[in-house]
Symmetry: C2
């Protein structure tokens, strides 16, 4: 097996999600925990049922507190280095569901500072522009305006800076180096940045003057930031934030993660129907070299990006997904048909999302907070 | 000669100011430059005449621009880790004079973030409290309210953060390590902080949308911050800030620099007349072991903290200072008399300063800016 690396700024190799749980020291979202969520929420979101959200920290504590009447706040975000792709939407979809089921407030951080610091070619104007574009996608997902605060770090820095400083004071370069793999050539902004990602974890506790639990739905590559947060929290008198981690949304080129740097392997929420369809029709599948071979040997859903798309989000019916897998392996289903099926669903989703996204332009200010 | 170290956070050993010019790569404020300032300002401030402000970067350029009609902005500041002592006032006194003579706007930064990050025992509430106390001393010196902006970093972060990020992106950990002597155990806030000290250098250029020259009067230990600023500036499209550097105000215990950590060696602007007098009467001098020996051998003004106090600020008359030195060396003047003379002058200064400082409480808001 190839070695893999997962940090907030670099995912490489074929990710082994089970080993990542061990490596990061997180816990599996197991059957009893799923049943508990189901009982409290009155159902289970597809991304939990399908084990796309598969790992957590302190989720049991969040539910304990909830049952005691101490409601949690949700916190997630986005690094605005480009347009939103379907992979980015995934944690926000679960977040949206959690907001509804647990009547939770959401803090949504747009890290325009981080992406400016990380991407040589991006200016602060670029990352701000992308941040506002990305915010449209957040609003389009249907968050409740009176329970949602979206902010850019450069515009909401005063509210966060003091909290960031408190984390910074307790975090040495050694720690940041060990957690993120920083070197001597890392810029000092990026070294500091993790504290900014910590800050919203403590914001509501500061505001309310009491310990408010925070739950962070995010892709597992963001976990290192919150290890630092969780180490600092008890020393600062704040509760440790809890997390639920998802796997990466698959790349249409095959492999573990959509990459913003190869646009053909990702579908953006701003893609036209033609672009989206073309990308899907060119996707990497688990098919054989010829139709004849496929009829005889069957396909391999376990390596197929089209199957992944369906199983992550786009085929919500478990029985139909199961049947599709069976038919593929049996050689009854060809890749072209499967791509066509996915394309229809993706286009249907995009059409609706883009309509809601346009409507969000007029409503954005209901969600944005600034200092 | 003992080896000495000078960084913004550590001054140790006996400072050789001439060698510091070489080591830092600054320039001496020489006779022609002094004459030029004198001509433009219609006089020369004591601290320039006495060569307490003795080193500079690009001061000639600042004067070139001034003569072309491009007025400079002044920028200085204070790290609010405690009350203000006389050493802190020195650069502000020159700054006040420069404001008057060159009709210059002043930006005054209170780095409550820095001192929180640097001092284990200080909270953000502590450094904020000291910042407001220190601001009273600034106002007491007579700056013009319509030309002066005083701000705390935590309260004026939004205006500075974007500028700080731009410097941060261009500054690696290697550079910060080399300039400040950071190690793996340095906290990541302190590593980032230097960018905050850079930010005001670019603030007026951003506001006015044209290249505004900036002159920074400061003690020479602050120069390393501005080496980083000056390296980054051309890449960011800003003019490099210019600097004039002063020597450290002497310690009453002897040695190069007043230390906030040994309160008996410094006179604070909040000291009572009794405290100030006691500290001066206990000061380290260049006297001999007995009166008889002193009458015979004479004293040594070159190591005497009382003489330093007089020569830095408290004896403004050059001829009288000269005569005092002669009389000391000749054994005509005893340390007790000299201390008495200094005490009177310091108490007179403190009385007036403290009166102005109290009046400043009501006027402080005319000077403070916040986001």
């Amino acid at each position: 097996m190839r070695e893999f690396q997962v940090t907030p700024w670099e995912v490489s190799g074929e990710v082994d999600y089970e080993r990542l749980i061990e490596r990061f020291g997180t816990s599996e979202i197991d059957e009893p925990l799923l049943r508990r969520i189901e009982r409290l929420a009155g159902g289970l979101h597809l991304l939990l049922r399908r084990r796309i959200f598969y790992s957590h920290r302190s989720l049991d504590w969040i539910l304990d507190e909830y049952e005691r009447g101490n409601r949690f706040v949700l916190y997630t975000g986005r690094g605005p280095s480009g347009h939103t792709h379907l992979g980015h939407l995934m944690p926000w979809m679960l977040t949206r569901w959690l907001q509804e089921k647990f009547e939770a407030k959401l803090l949504f951080q747009l890290t325009d500072d981080e992406k400016f610091l990380f991407k040589q070619e991006l200016s602060l104007e670029d990352t701000k522009r992308f941040a506002y574009e990305n915010a449209l996608d957040v609003v389009a997902l249907g968050f409740e305006p009176d329970k949602t605060e979206i902010f850019l770090n450069t515009e909401y820095i005063k509210s966060q800076y003091r909290l960031a400083l408190k984390v910074a004071k307790r975090t040495t370069f050694s720690t940041a180096k060990a957690v993120f793999g920083f070197g001597n050539d890392t810029n000092i902004g990026l070294i500091f940045f993790t504290c900014m990602q910590s800050a919203p974890c403590f914001l509501e506790t500061e505001r309310q003057g009491r310990a408010v639990p925070v739950l962070i739905p995010c892709a597992i590559d963001q976990d290192p930031h919150f290890r630092i947060t969780r180490d600092a929290a008890p020393h600062l008198g704040y509760p440790k934030p809890a997390l639920v981690h998802c796997k990466f949304f698959p790349s249409l080129a095959g492999g573990s993660k959509m990459s913003a740097s190869s646009p053909e392997s990702s579908i953006y929420t701003t893609d036209s129907p033609e672009e989206a369809r073309r990308k899907i029709m060119n996707a990497f599948t688990g098919g054989q070299e010829s139709v004849a071979m496929q009829r005889r040997l069957g396909g391999r859903p376990e390596v197929c990006s089209v199957y992944s798309y369906l199983s992550y989000i786009f085929e919500q019916d478990d029985a139909r997904l199961e049947e599709r897998q069976r038919a593929c392996r049996a050689g009854e289903l060809l890749c072209g048909e499967c791509k066509q099926y996915l394309a229809e669903r993706v286009l249907e989703f995009l059409e609706e999302h883009q309509r809601r996204r346009e409507r969000a332009r007029d409503r954005l200010e209901e969600f944005m907070v600034r200092d």
